[in-house]
């Protein structure tokens, strides 16, 4: 990571890609029964950065992505949900990747499930309603499915895209 211009460009492109994915997921309701909860498509970019660079770069892009998404397509409540989802997901993915016990697909799956769980935890805190946690089963299931899909695409990107830093 010597070339600063290269790194800044890379982060810029990552943020742009994550923003596009965040926009796409606002068009697809994850579940009509679970309002405000997003799929976490932008996790694709985080998985990629986690494997190609490190968690710090993934975290930087994630923070910018969450703030910009809230500014452009969201409100204060959706900022809280996506921030907690993104944070929990990145923490879990970093830890599982660090353990070395899982493939990038498994890491992505755990990231998607914890992304959904993080949003639910924030929803419970914000609305003061524990019953929201009862939406966990469908959200765990959809997290497994989206996580596997993102992980499969991510694994291809990780092996095909060559960075100068490789």
């Amino acid at each position: 990571m010597k070339c600063t211009a290269y790194r800044i460009t890379l982060l810029g492109v990552s943020v742009a890609a994550a923003m596009v994915l965040s926009y796409i997921e606002t068009l697809i309701p994850l579940s009509i029964a679970v309002p405000g909860v997003k799929m976490g498509l932008a996790n694709l970019v985080m998985v990629f950065l986690l494997y190609k660079l490190d968690w710090k770069h993934a975290a930087a892009v994630s923070i910018i992505r969450v703030l910009l998404t809230a500014l452009l397509f969201g409100n204060a409540a959706s900022l809280a949900y996506s921030a907690s989802g993104a944070a929990l997901s990145l923490i879990v993915m970093s830890l599982l990747k660090g353990s070395g016990a899982f493939s990038s697909v498994g890491v992505s799956m755990a990231g998607a499930v914890s992304h959904n769980a993080g949003q639910i935890i924030m929803a419970v805190l914000l609305t003061g309603t524990r019953e929201i946690a009862w939406w966990l089963p469908p959200l765990i299931l959809s997290g497994i499915v989206t996580g596997l899909a993102i992980g499969a695409v991510g694994a291809v990107l990780i092996s095909k895209i060559k960075l100068k830093t490789d």
Partner: protein, 141 residues
């Protein structure tokens, strides 16, 4: 197990992993099954502990503002703090939201509720409609 593992007399470089790809995929599958099992367990607990409720309770910002008996049909205009509106309809012992001026309209699309603990949530309005009573588990903090 990880970077400290000694391999061929040398300490493996940081980030180098001892676990083979085959075993990692096996671990992925175990993780997926564990998550599925967790989802199933939560779902089981939820469906076993729910009973038909007595009241539809309206909570705004987590605080109860009104409650309506499920055995009496009613149409209620709920107004939230910032002047937004959700229409709560109670019919045939079930509660549903038939109109809302929230951006996502997800509360309107949710199914009618009648069992204790079931909720209809309008996140943009920080509004929750929850079924209470009927001898179900009391999960209120």
């Amino acid at each position: 197990m990880r970077s400290k593992a000694v391999f061929g007399g040398r300490t493996r470089p940081k980030g180098s992993l001892v676990i083979s790809m085959k075993n990692r995929i096996r671990n992925d599958i175990i993780l997926a099954l564990a998550l599925l099992l967790a989802a199933l367990a939560v779902w089981g607990v939820v469906s076993l502990t729910r009973k038909t409720g007595e009241y539809a309770v309206v909570l705004i910002n987590g605080e109860e503002t009104a409650r309506y008996p499920l055995d009496k049909d009613a149409v209620v205009e709920i107004e939230t703090e910032d002047g937004h509106v959700n229409t709560l309809v109670i019919k045939d012992g079930e509660a549903s939201v038939t109109f809302a001026d929230c951006p996502d309209k997800l509360c309107v699309k949710q199914r009618a509720i009648k069992r204790t603990g079931e909720t209809i949530i309008c996140l943009p309005h920080k509004l929750v409609i929850r079924i209470e009573g009927g001898g179900g588990v009391d999960t209120v903090v």
